[in-house]
């Protein structure tokens, strides 16, 4: 079954061709962002590259502060989601009591609810709490919104995990918190990688919520900053595209660094 036949070669050629079609838009994005400002040649032609657009975009779009805001919100939400979901999944996976099943069912119902329904009433609650315009509002929002999916992944993983380890820790005199943080959480590392990256992608890329909850303040996330930036400079495509590349680069770098774990991680999630 391991030979490289002509059929495999044909398949390989077809898959590479498909990859080129998939990559074409990204090629246009990068090639245009490197183009001289006055260049009027066809969007698919090659030309002498320049990095000038990147400097201009950085200054015009206020991307520095947007990157900082997005990073803080993403990091804060992901840490909270990981710790709280793993903790919640622990009794959900181990206990067979009614309350445990009911809580799991409630979380799973939350997976289905479109947040458009909750968006406006929550907007009011955040305003009453004085959190509108504060990035903290988004950390609270993403933690609540993303918990069900993460609980789902953690519960599946924990059910397959032998309870002997934590039982040993308890016999050795650990309290439940200590046993959880020093024994269970490290054992969850494979699925935590997946939970971190999927949540980070979601939070970093979300557009509608920061558009609403942070509007009119100096603190914007990257997608909202890009939205405003492109609206303002819509005819200057090379600079606009340089801004788009800057805004998307952090997520792509994280992805390329962790890609193995991302792609393998889905297998762990599926078994749950």
């Amino acid at each position: 079954m391991n030979r490289y036949t002509w059929r495999t070669a044909v398949l390989e050629a077809a898959m590479v061709a498909a990859a080129l079609v998939f990559a074409f838009p990204v090629y246009v994005l990068v090639s245009l962002s490197l183009r001289q400002p006055g260049d009027q040649s066809s969007p698919i032609a090659l030309s002498t590259p320049t990095l000038a657009n990147y400097g201009d975009a950085w200054q015009q779009a206020g991307l520095g502060s947007a990157l900082l805001t997005s990073t803080l919100i993403t990091a804060g939400s992901v840490v909270l989601v990981v710790v709280l979901s793993a903790m919640a999944a622990y009794p959900l996976a181990r206990s067979t009591r009614t309350w445990s099943k009911a809580a799991f069912g409630l979380f799973m119902l939350g997976l289905l609810l479109p947040f458009q329904l909750a968006l406006i009433p929550l907007y009011q609650s955040m305003r009453d709490l004085g959190l509108l315009g504060n990035p903290l509002a988004l950390v609270v929002f993403y933690t609540g919104l993303q918990t069900p999916f993460s609980v789902f992944l953690y519960t599946g993983f924990l059910r397959a995990l032998d309870p002997a380890y934590e039982e040993a820790a308890l016999i050795d005199g650990c309290g439940p918190l200590r046993a959880f943080f020093s024994v269970v959480l490290p054992l969850l590392r494979p699925i935590t990688g997946t939970v971190v990256i999927l949540n980070a992608i979601f939070v970093w890329n979300d557009f509608l919520t920061p558009l609403l909850y942070l509007s009119g303040t100096g603190q914007q996330t990257v997608p909202v900053a890009l939205f405003g930036f492109v609206g303002q400079y819509v005819s200057q495509w090379p600079m606009v595209f340089a801004g788009l590349v800057i805004g998307t680069a952090p997520m792509l770098l994280v992805y390329f660094a962790l890609q193995k774990r991302v792609i393998q991680g889905f297998a762990g999630g599926l078994k749950g």
């Binding site: 903790m87 622990y90 979380f107 909750a118 609540g144 890009l226 606009v240 890609q259």
Partner: protein, 299 residues
């Protein structure tokens, strides 16, 4: 009391106290459960977003909805987009998964490649494609360069075409996501099963149908659920590329909900539309889940 609620599997000590649930549950209830229940209530009032105690309005918002051409068109568009995304994205995702699961040399690189668009911010991909789709843009230029000038279109300006142009962007972006989930399913099929089927004389198609397809059922369930729910909630790409235009041709329930609430300040009507979206998501997912589970059981 607390420690007694943990499990007692194999007679070991209890390990998981109930209060471990509390913090996650608190966030979830505050952000999702309470506002959703409030929202469902507001759908039956005349709330304007300011008045603290809105009046009960019964089914008025839903009657308005029936006469609202924009909302009806958005509902049809939402269903069409969700159906198109679900079918095409999963067919492409499955083909890609089968391709990168085979013993081709570039498979590791290609896996990374096909998933990459799913990592890019939808706002960015939407602007990128808006540029590609422009009458003088890269797609039409590419067709001209290939001698296919007659294929040139006004991709986002033509009302008959615009919705499908947006759908194509979503499919391009998330086909790799479906691929990765199918790939996880493919990798869980033991190689021996395939070899046994091959020894029994099953051809490649027969092996796919009788061995691979049934064992991919769990991946299929997750993929179909994710793409249907994602398709029904479609917002970012539409808002950036067309804002629902031309003439409502790309309006979805989500863009109408946003416009009604935050541009026209008609909060009650907006929430009524959100409730319709919720019911739609719930009913379609429930039907889908039952159908798919039944197939999984038979396989």
């Amino acid at each position: 009391m607390a420690t007694k609620l943990g499990s007692r599997r194999r007679g070991g000590p209890p390990t998981a106290p109930w209060w471990f649930l509390a913090p996650a549950l608190a966030f979830f209830v505050f952000v999702v459960v309470v506002p959703s229940v409030q929202g469902a209530g507001y759908a039956f009032t005349d709330w304007d977003g300011i008045t603290p105690a809105p009046d009960f309005a019964g089914l008025d918002n839903f009657r308005t909805l029936l006469d609202d051409e924009t909302a009806r068109l958005a509902l049809v568009n939402t269903l069409l987009a969700a159906a198109g995304i679900t079918v095409v994205q999963n067919v492409i995702g499955l083909l890609l998964a089968l391709g990168v699961h085979a013993r081709i040399r570039s498979r590791t690189v290609l896996r990374v490649f096909f998933f990459a668009p799913a990592v890019i911010t939808p706002v960015v991909t939407a602007y990128l494609w808006k540029y590609l789709y422009a009458p003088e843009g890269a797609i039409n230029a590419l067709f001209a360069a290939l001698g296919l000038g007659s294929w040139q279109q006004d991709w986002l300006g033509d009302p008959d075409l615009a919705l499908w142009s947006v759908v194509a962007v979503v499919i391009w972006q998330f086909a790799g996501y479906s691929m990765v989930i199918f790939l996880a399913g493919l990798q869980s099929i033991p190689q021996e099963v395939h070899e046994a089927a091959a020894l029994d004389g099953a051809g490649a198609l027969g092996r796919f149908w009788h061995v691979t397809r049934p064992m991919l059922a769990p991946a299929m369930t997750i993929n179909l659920m994710l793409s249907v729910i994602g398709g029904l909630k479609l917002f970012d790409q539409v808002w950036v590329m067309t804002q629902g235009g031309p003439g409502g041709a790309t309006d979805t329930l989500s863009t109408v909900i946003y416009r009604q609430a935050f541009q026209f300040n008609d909060f009650a009507y907006s929430i009524a539309l959100a409730l319709v979206l919720t019911v739609l998501v719930a009913v379609i997912s429930a039907v889908q889940y039952r159908g798919l589970r039944r197939r999984e059981d038979f396989s």
